[in-house]
């Protein structure tokens, strides 16, 4: 990531040293939403209309995973030519929701398992005339002992 890196979408995640997804929490019922929401609460049992922004937990458990062996169609913007496949994971966070993401560079489906831990990182998704455009990604958390196996 270059100095000029900017998120590929605004306001969905922070980019500091401990990056996190940014969601909304209903101030009435405390239900958390990602992506952020506004207006009124989508919990149909709640009539709340106020939300506060919150950073979601940076670690969760892998709900499932896969990869993209073929280049996805537009509006996907490939990072490289020729295309290099990447992995994808759905990760369940302590806030009770599952969030999709690409898997961090260098990791593939062989590094993943349902129930295993993953941590959020921010990496470059593609580069355009404004520079690198970044995105949140899920990076497998390699536990002691596992690492030695690899």
């Amino acid at each position: 990531m270059s100095q000029t890196a900017t998120p590929a979408i605004e306001g969905w995640f922070t980019t500091g040293p401990a990056p996190a997804l940014v969601g909304s929490r209903c101030t009435t019922c405390a239900t958390v939403f990602f992506p952020r929401t506004g207006g009124f609460c989508r919990n149909p049992a709640c009539s709340g209309e106020e939300f506060e922004g919150i950073e979601l937990s940076r670690r969760g458990r892998i709900w499932s995973y896969t990869d993209a062996q073929y280049q996805p169609p537009p509006p996907y913007i490939p990072a490289t030519d020729p295309y290099v496949p990447f992995a994808l994971a759905a990760v369940e966070l302590p806030e009770g929701l599952v969030v999709l993401g690409q898997v961090a560079g260098g990791y593939g489906v062989a590094d993943l398992e349902v129930g295993a831990e993953a941590e959020l990182v921010v990496e470059t998704l593609y580069t355009d005339d404004t520079g690198d455009r970044t995105i949140w990604r899920w990076k497998p958390v390699i536990e002691m002992g596992q690492e030695a196996d690899q």
Partner: protein, 396 residues
């Protein structure tokens, strides 16, 4: 009050790539269904079209397009859209107007032509559209969603890629003699496993193709059917078109996230379980009475999910049924005797109607070369983007 309506006629245009436009396909299927019913087009009081979103304005207003192509007869018209659940929604719309006494005979038609390759969103930048964002931010195609579900079966229930391949082998055998199927060729497990991986763990042959195709159904009130001498028609006993209940906790295409269950709690049933549950409840028929099921095998592994969602076995046991041959023709509960999407390919607004056509032929004993013996009750299931599922339950 019974919510039953009679299936007076069914018809299809064979699936395939025939180079015709969707109107020709749909009209062919409509006329086949009318001929099957013996009811004259002039006696149709309502036309419901399953919309196709890839065929210009005529596709958006499919009901009127078919009505005009058949020759304006003054019928009422409606057009439904619900992604892959479109056909079932169209049936529900027709059924409601029949049950409300607003018409006696309804013609329901769905037809599509489908481009090759990945289904991709419309052009233009739409930063508030999840169907656009999933491609832009994640490169998340439809098969990638299917693959997430497949992988969960492997890691949670011990399913294998060989099991998935076996679903394809079975469905290919089922569809071998189906005159409306696009692919009529035996496939071996080795063929599937030797085909390229699209999205791990799914191979190319695990994933259904797209296709052109059309299907139509003529529905009537039970009274009208009786008057025409149809004493024991196949009946629509239930149509389920329910949405999820908050929180929807299963990752659903095209979303990038699920709802949170932390506050509201996990619902009693997953969305797909609730679809079938609503159908059984409405019909007053239980899963143990089902003779056959037509389910939406967008991927081989998804067929296994559906078997459980339809409560034909417990969660995690679909592979056991498959391996025992229970879901094969001749087995305890044949699944996709038509050959399913594996043999048809996907033609979105026609597919749920095609399922109803197949169940009707099965319940009439007319499914030559793929007949489920002594079929009395059939159920269909499918699911589209954005919280659309559907299930139609039919019986004789």
């Amino acid at each position: 009050m019974s919510n039953d309506v009679a299936v007076a006629g069914v018809g299809m245009h064979p699936w395939g790539k025939w180079g015709k436009n969707f109107v020709e396909y749909g009209v062919h299927a409509a006329r086949a269904a009318l001929a099957d019913s013996g009811i004259d087009w002039q006696d149709v009081g309502l036309v419901v079209g399953g919309e196709t979103v890839r065929n210009g304005y005529g596709g958006y207003v499919a009901g009127a397009t078919f009505a005009q192509a058949l020759g304006w007869n003054g019928a009422s018209v409606a057009t439904s859209y619900a992604a892959c659940a479109t056909g079932a929604q169209a049936i529900d719309t027709a059924r409601a107007r029949i049950l409300a006494g607003m018409c006696d005979v309804a013609l329901v038609v769905g037809a599509d032509t489908t481009p090759k390759g990945f289904l991709a969103p419309n052009a233009g930048e739409r930063w508030d559209d999840p169907d656009w964002l999933r491609f832009r931010l994640l490169g998340m195609t439809n098969p990638a969603y299917f693959a997430l579900y497949a992988r969960r079966r492997m890691d949670l229930y011990g399913a294998t890629q060989a099991d998935f391949a076996q679903v394809k082998v079975k469905n290919a055998r089922h569809g071998l003699n189906n005159p409306n199927a696009r692919y009529r060729k035996l496939v071996s497990a080795e063929d599937v496993l030797a085909s390229a991986i699209v999205s791990d763990p799914l191979h190319l042959l695990d994933i259904c193709a797209t296709s052109d195709g059309a299907a139509a159904v003529v529905l009537t009130s039970l009274d009208y059917a009786r008057k025409r001498g149809l004493t024991n028609p196949v009946r629509v006993r239930a149509v389920s078109t329910v949405t999820p209940t908050f929180p929807n906790t299963v990752m659903d295409m095209p979303n990038l996230s699920t709802d949170s269950s932390a506050v509201a709690g996990v619902p009693e049933r997953t969305f797909k379980e609730s679809i079938a549950h609503a159908a059984y409840e409405e019909a007053g028929i239980g899963p143990e009475e089902v003779s056959l099921a037509e389910v939406y095998d967008l991927s081989t592994a998804l067929e296994l999910d559906w078997i459980e969602d339809l409560a034909l076995c417990k969660r995690g046991e679909a592979e056991t049924l498959l391996r025992a041959g229970d879901t094969t023709l001749g087995g305890r509960i044949p699944v996709n005797p038509s050959g399913g999407l594996a043999c048809f390919g996907e033609a979105v607004p026609a597919q749920a109607l095609a399922q109803v056509c197949e169940v009707t032929w099965q319940l009439r004993g007319q499914a030559v070369g793929r007949q489920v013996e002594n079929a009395k009750v059939g159920i269909t299931a499918n699911q589209g983007l954005f919280g659309h599922g559907s299930s139609v339950l039919l019986s004789v």
